[in-house]
């Protein structure tokens, strides 16, 4: 029975990683950049939600909408100011700029909200469900997280396969120059990708802080790195891959904490990543692209 409980917890935290990883993987697939500031957008989203519920006293769903709106705008602004001017330059230049943006967001948050941790009140009011005579407890947060994760996954898959913008995104990620020749507005497509990624980050931020209630300016960085690992794990650039990677990473993390070692859970998670990459160098669902001579 205990094992089922761990599995549920693992899927729950894995779903949060999966939502963050989706943002990473979309941006990587389309703009070919490692956006290290993504984790800090999560933190901003959580702070916005915190402010709306705690200071303005508005209901939880309003706070989620506000967080999504602010983060979407933030994502577009960051992309336009910091990343767009560097389009076509070596990826390392963009990477360093992303790190600069990440520092900026963390320190701006520290100035605005101070570095002392805030106690985030969960957006879920549902009572936990007890199964199998109280041996397994499913909290409202778990249900909401998993539901949000499935919804996002289905939504994104439909979006990229059915809509014009989604198809444009796939075309840009496949071959940017060819897409431009076909009349696709590449810059606008990349902006849209950042907007979607940042909106997802806001959702992930609220869900993450509902599960782990301490909120401080560095809240986003570790889940950010984890989710990034998850995206690579599943094959970076692939939407189902990010989903699979996130959930597997969450399960591995919970199980290694429960059965192997609490202190070494980080080492175990990252070792699994290394092993996977050695066996399948492009990740679980990634495409292996043969280099042309």
């Amino acid at each position: 029975m205990q094992i089922l409980q761990y599995l549920i917890n693992g899927i729950s935290i894995g779903s949060v990683y999966a939502i963050i990883a989706l943002g990473y993987t979309m941006v990587y697939g389309i703009a070919k950049m490692l956006n290290f500031a993504h984790g800090d957008i999560i933190m901003v989203g959580a702070y916005i939600s915190f402010c709306v519920t705690s200071y303005l006293g508005l209901p939880a769903w309003v706070s989620v909408v506000a967080a999504v709106a602010v983060c979407t705008v933030l994502g577009i602004v960051i992309e336009g100011l910091a990343y767009k001017p560097l389009r076509g330059t070596p990826s390392l230049a963009v990477l360093i700029t992303a790190i600069g943006v990440s520092y900026f967001l963390q320190n701006a948050a520290q100035l605005i909200w101070s570095s002392s941790p805030k106690n985030f009140t969960s957006v879920v009011t549902m009572k936990p469900i007890s199964l199998a005579g109280g041996k397994i407890v499913v909290t409202g947060e778990v249900l909401l997280t998993v539901a949000a994760c499935i919804l996002v996954m289905v939504g994104l898959t439909l979006f990229t396969s059915k809509t014009r913008t989604g198809k444009a995104m796939r075309a840009v990620s496949e071959d940017r120059d060819a897409a431009q020749l076909m009349g696709i507005n590449v810059n606008q497509t990349i902006s849209t990708t950042f907007a979607i990624g940042s909106a997802l980050a806001a959702v992930a931020g609220v869900l993450l802080c509902s599960t782990v209630p301490t909120l401080q300016p560095t809240t986003g960085s570790m889940p950010g790195i984890r989710a990034f690992t998850a995206a690579v794990f599943g094959g970076i650039g692939s939407i189902p891959g990010a989903m699979l990677g996130g959930i597997l990473l969450g399960i591995i993390e919970t199980f290694s904490k429960a059965y192997l070692s609490t202190q070494f859970s980080d080492a175990i998670v990252f070792s699994v990543l290394i092993v996977i990459l050695l066996v399948k160098p492009a990740g679980l669902l990634g495409k292996q692209i043969q280099e042309k001579v």
Binding site: L95, I96, T97, V101, I225, T229, Q263, D266, F270, A282
Partner: protein, 356 residues
Amino acid sequence: MKKILNNKTTRTNLLTYLVVIVAFAVMQAMNSAGMLGSSMKGFLVPICVYISLAVSLNLLVGICGELSLGHAGFMGIGAFSGVIIAALLKDVVANDFLRLLLAMVCGGVFAGVVGFLIGVPVLRLRGDYLAIVTLAFGEIMKNIIGNLYAGTDSEGFHMAISTSKMKLAAGGKYIVSGPLGATGIQKLATFTMGFLLVLFTLFIVQNLINSKEGRAIRAVRDNRIAAESVGINVTAFRMKAFVVSAFLAGMAGALFGLNYSSVTASKFNFNTSINILVFVVLGGMGNILGSVISATVLYVLPEAMRGLQDYRMILYAIVLILVMLFTWSPKVKEFMSVIADKVSGVFKKKEAGTNE
């Protein structure tokens, strides 16, 4: 002599040594004249450490073309093995300088060996995937070092990776105690040793770059397939660069560890790796003198802005973004060249006017 100076790479290399030596002499003179504040004195060794780290990472990122996000991991291995070795040799080697040197060499060797062991599987990967694996490696190292216990008692030296397995006899002394890190370190590091480390790093890296190996490594960076097809053993050369880089980072780490009375594993995290990478990229990839200068400036900059308190890191972030935009953006470059043309045009017109 003249012939040597005519060679451009030799000239650049000599210039790098000259800059470092002059800087050392100036700082040393100012120090003995009592012109340095206590905070500036505290910066001297870390600056040397970060210069060595930046130069060694530049070998990997700039020359070899491999993005590494785990350089702090090697630094951490060097720091902790150096601290342990220095503590163990306390009664054996009386001379502080010699003990520091031994600790640094051991730190370097440990980091180099780990670099080799990791390199065997990892160097099969390329590009962003290699970057991610080095990131993962850095986190693993931080995690393991953060749970390392080491100490001595009457029965000798003990080491374990959990509290329960670590049993010291009465009167035993901990050198490293898990998440609390290494405490009670004897501060052996000196600015002179830092200077020597920088010179040694420069010597190794610059000679490596301009040797047969270095040319092969650059060939691999510029076109791997072409390099492979002319018979260069790509993996072997990448491995050499990786191990040398790890070795130098380990030495720098040992010096860093022995500069403070206590060191924790959390110091050697992802952010430290990233900071070193920022030094390399802002200094110019593949440009050794650039790494030296940018490591110095960027280390001192946030510290010098301490007066601005909370605003200093945000300013640092803005400076970082702006520098990247100004040095890389094609539009800004175009704008600057237009301005440069106009300025030179004004001067040309003036010249033409005076001629008439």
